[in-house]
């Protein structure tokens, strides 16, 4: 079995979000970079668990980005995986990114492709579906549980107010979220091993960029909280009704 996990680099959750060059670029000053949590905690860890159960399984990681992504992909390799592939290209366009991953995946012949449910910076939830379409594979998004029995996967998928249990034969693309696996911390052996694991750099395929970011905006700051004394709950209800018109 061959598994491919898609990895993105994102700013740490607690990073200050600011923009520069006339609001056209994300201001990276002082930002700490992490593996996108959905890719790491859920997609990657679940793939590692599958490999632990099946010694013959091969686990590859893929990322699309410049050389600055390498520390992040090494960090991912410290958790697990046999090798990593970096497609040497930078893009905000989800189609472009998906097409690069699909190009590599076509040659790799993967049975399972995992992504996180979205990145915490662009919040698109787009790459997994587009990869699946380009590979003509089934796609199950927002998985909260993934079990494999031979070549049949049983996947719980989030729906409004609950879950749906799906069954599908491999190959398949899955986007993962909370529930699929539990977060792991890399150990020293993993960190040492990651240094010598192969990290292949491939040049991007010629693909059109279908979208581009023109500018960023930050929402206007909140006016500040209106505090109501604890002994006057009626006043809060009045404000919610008459001022906020929320009830």
């Amino acid at each position: 079995m061959k598994i491919l996990v898609c990895i993105s680099k994102t700013p740490d959750t607690t990073s200050k979000i600011a923009f520069k060059d006339n609001n056209s670029k994300f201001d990276e000053a002082g930002v700490q970079w992490i593996i996108n949590p959905y890719d790491e905690w859920y997609a990657l860890v679940r793939a590692i668990e599958l490999k632990e159960k099946d010694a013959s399984a091969v686990l590859h990681l893929i990322t699309v980005g410049g050389a600055d992504v390498e520390p992040i992909i090494r960090k991912a390799l410290a958790l697990g995986g046999d090798e990593a592939i970096r497609v040497n290209a930078q893009s905000d366009d989800r189609y472009f990114i998906a097409a690069q991953i699909a190009e590599v995946a076509k040659q790799g012949g993967y049975d399972l492709i995992f992504t996180g449910k979205e990145t915490i910076d662009f919040n698109s939830s787009s790459v997994g579906g587009a990869v699946a379409e380009l590979l003509d594979m089934p796609y199950i998004s927002l998985a909260t549980k993934f079990e494999l029995n031979g070549t049949t996967a049983t996947v719980n998928r989030e729906i409004e107010g609950g879950e749906e249990v799906n069954e599908v034969s491999l190959p398949v693309v899955i986007s993962c979220q909370k529930g699929v696996a539990e977060q792991r911390i890399p150990n020293m052996r993993g960190i040492m091993a990651a240094r010598t694991k192969p990290l292949k750099v491939v040049e991007p395929a010629a693909v059109d960029q279908l979208t581009s970011v023109v500018s960023y905006e930050t929402p206007p700051p909140k006016a500040g909280v209106k505090l109501v004394p604890a002994d006057n709950v009626a006043e809060l209800v009045r404000l919610l009704h008459e001022e906020a018109k929320a009830i």
Binding site: T13, K117, I120, G129, S141, I159, V225, V237, L239, I247
Partner: protein, 321 residues
Amino acid sequence: MSVLIFIDHSEGHIKKSSFEALTYGADLAKQLGTSAEGLLLGTVNDDLAALGKYGVTKINQVNNESLNNLDAQVYAKAIGEAATQTGAKVIVFSHNQNGRAVAARVGARLKAGVVTGAVALPKTDGGFVVKKSVFSAKAFANVSINSDIKVISLNPNSYKITAGEGSAAINQLNITVDAPKVKVVSVNKVKGEVPLTEAEIVVSGGRGFKGPENWGILEDLAKTLHAATACSRPVADAHWRPHHEHVGQTGIQIAPNLYFALGISGAIQHLAGVNRSKVIVVVNKDPEAPFFKAADYGIVGDVFEIVPKLTEEIKKLKGIA
């Protein structure tokens, strides 16, 4: 060059998020000087012609019961085909669970640029620029779609539903539907409760409630408001409440009109899941709780004292008591 709006449904009924998408798509069509049409895959019990009140002139249907379950691959092919048959240039989805499964797939199929999580109508004077939520609602990006066909998915609860008069024509599309590869084995849905992602009002509890046995007062408040119930991550992790109630960065992201954060301190990861809420009310006995900084209204006080009073006052307002 029409606008085609994907109509999502479950258990025979069209979802509220689709009424929003229909209104948005109809307003966009007006802006572009073209017509808006709906697309429904499968069958529903609702009156399709009545959807004309949201501004669409026609509802295209692929009347095939196998489409009542979502298989993203089958859906993408059918939607792509429908877009070609109807000559759609813009396809609108809701950025809900099913939209996340399908929108980007349809985009890749049609080689159409995709912007998910849109929060406003695109700017179309001399281009096509869509404003979307990024950085877990801490910022917006204006994204230009440069392809001939465009796909937008609209963040739930970000566009006001307007219903007027009007009736839509029904058009049955003749599309070959592939056999699904994804089998739906079972559906586990919470019965009789308001689904969290569709709720106008959400009442959410944190560690301040001290234990699962104390949730009764929160549920009373939610019932009085016809609200959905939610919780913070520590509460779900401690199994005080089911995981599907967990809102936050790693849980469900919601954008209700009104969010009550009761006994929740307001960690940045929690805020990332709720800061698209229009009005936030915080009750916490710690005046230093970071949630007060993100709130519109607040009471510094004990949830055990404040929450029952809130229920009582709302009942008075609604004339229930």
